[in-house]
Symmetry: C2
Subunit: 366 residues, 2 copies
């Protein structure tokens, strides 16, 4: 039994009886991984499911998780080793770990106060203080990034952009100019258990990422330093089943989000991210205006689970101290991230919450 009366997050995955017949088909194929027929079907269906900013066809490379997908995307991007890749200070650490494991140099950037992530204008302002070779904005908390604004950034600056949209599958429009990674981890809106995707219009990136997800084999010879990042057939089967229920899963989340906004709008001292009001988040962070410790304490007393997702910010982890940090006021200044650290609290947000629970949570955090 959980120690919490209300848990922060509950996965909403298809139940086994809805996909046993597909598992039986996998058994009769005797094909369990290594680019099997279900993975092929899943990738094809995902390519149709995703929307592209210009309708151009997109390649989908499935991976065993999104961290592998981030590594493969960077390692097959054409960026050289040592390339400086800007990442937001407020993100799940896989973002920066993938940069470091790709032998590139992360540049940790303060986030925008309104959007809680990197914005094109913010990054352009920070270019006065540091050089970068690429930027990897994050669809923080599942709020989709503005693909068209980032396309314009590429046109203006010539700096390549890669999206870590781990939590925004189903919400994030994909730009053919911007390779994008999604997660299908159990805790993500489009959950399958473990899984990730690289989505790109670049045939070269897709094909080398795929080869390198299989050790780098080309006709029996190793052509690049790859690893094993293949998605197994089982997860493709869960994914194919998840498509069937996607509209219903999303509707439930939208209804809970609408009620939350209604309730939070009546509160004076707590707010959600107004800049993303019309987007559907994956996890719900509220801004307590510097009172996060007190709000968390009250929630614990009421057995309401909270999480401080993406916090502390990256520049506060000792292991990342040696990397360049930059904000709007120059190097080594990340005031927005630090404000968010003292202000943001993740409150329960999932498809199994009742209306009464949402009212109750809002009354408590008030």
């Amino acid at each position: 039994m959980s120690e919490w009366a209300i848990e922060c997050l509950k996965p909403d995955l298809p139940s086994v009886e809805t996909y046993t017949s597909l598992l039986a088909e996998m058994d009769s194929n005797q094909w369990y991984t290594n680019f099997g027929p279900f993975v092929q079907k899943f990738e094809a269906k995902m390519a149709q499911f995703l929307s592209s900013t210009d309708g151009a066809p997109l390649n989908v490379v499935s991976c065993n998780n999104a961290t592998s997908a981030l590594e493969l995307m960077l390692q097959n991007s054409g960026l050289p080793k040592g390339a400086k890749v800007m990442v937001p200070s407020v993100t799940f650490p896989a973002t920066i770990l993938a940069v470091i494991r790709s032998e590139m140099e992360p540049v940790i950037a303060d986030v925008c106060e309104e959007e809680w992530t990197l914005t094109p204008a913010g990054v352009e302002a920070m270019l006065d203080y540091c050089d970068i070779d690429a930027v990897m904005p994050v669809a923080s908390f599942g709020y989709a990034l503005d693909s068209r604004a980032w396309e314009a950034f590429i046109d203006r600056t010539g700096i390549p952009v890669f999206f870590d949209s781990a939590a925004a599958l189903g919400q994030q429009e994909v730009s053919p100019k911007i390779p994008t990674v999604f997660s299908m981890h159990a805790t993500k809106p489009f959950g399958i258990g473990e899984g990730g995707l690289i989505v790109t219009a670049s045939d070269a990136m897709a094909s080398s990422s795929k080869l390198n997800s299989n050790f780098g084999f080309v006709q029996g010879l190793i052509k690049d330093i790859g690893f094993n990042a293949k998605l197994a057939e089982y997860f493709a089967i869960v994914g194919l089943t998840q498509f069937e229920r996607w509209d219903a899963v999303t509707l439930k989340r939208e209804q809970r989000w609408a009620l939350y906004k209604e309730c939070i709008d009546t509160l004076d001292t707590v707010d959600y991210c107004q800049a993303h009001k019309n987007k559907l988040p994956a996890t719900l962070m509220v801004n307590t205006q510097g009172r996060s410790a007190a709000v968390i304490k009250t929630c614990i007393e009421n057995k309401i689970q909270t999480r401080q997702w993406y916090l502390p910010p990256l520049h506060k982890h000792e292991i990342f101290q040696s990397y360049i940090k930059v904000g709007l006021q120059g190097l080594d200044k990340c005031p927005v991230s630090e404000y968010l650290e003292s202000s943001l609290v993740g409150i329960p947000f999932h498809n199994f919450l009742t209306n009464e629970q949402i009212h109750h949570i809002c009354a408590i955090i008030k």
Copy 2:
């Protein structure tokens, strides 16, 4: 439909109806990955299943695949970056890729003519030509390595040893002095789909490997440059089910191996690895004494699938040209690997072969 009358390899995994009740339990847990209850149960059961050279308790760290397990083992071994790790020239390339991805320096060594892999005596002889910081022998083709002989090697030389026993789970005795990796890929004898294990008597290696399989998180802060190598609950469920049928699965393989040995013993120009006569292999390589091309051609004509597992040897892949190569006659000489390249052919070996098929295959390769 397969183009082959007889395929080389067919996975023998539990069928879905034998584990649907466990999947239903996973659904009711709403816990699909991240060290869930089935992974915990599976690791505990695996620790009992494995036999240790001195009966000492062993830690089992489950991973999403054996390549991740090799990387984690090396990265949490205490070996510094740049350490020279000797690997056999005849192996699945994941062995060397894991060394390179761990920012260590592989040393490619020729294999023993009798055993088709590294032996303590062979490695000691090669120490006259090069320095190494560690050695990673491979349980080639699933033939278990001699743990006690390698323990004696450590005692004599002080050089740390790591086993890549990917294909030998269930056959390989584990030494408390030798961290060992196993694969549970669908094509392995103990198949679950995708999966790997690090087995070690070292609590420190086990605990840091486990933390680093979860990004390196310690209480919400990143303490090391980890990644996501977690085994999902689904695979632990298949693994738990595989234990139940392990004796039967192994018996079938033993029966086929016994019949193959009987048939091959009647052939003059084809032999199996006599040094491993009393061990149970994972894949069956026969020595055609320089005639591999002709034998493969005949097999193809008869719709019998063959595979040249682990070949060409690593030193023949262009991408590994820059690394040190060593054999019994000195640097840059790997004559045994090159002989094996022209001689070894992998013939069909799996639990679905009939006695008639085995007789037929032996008649063809004769």
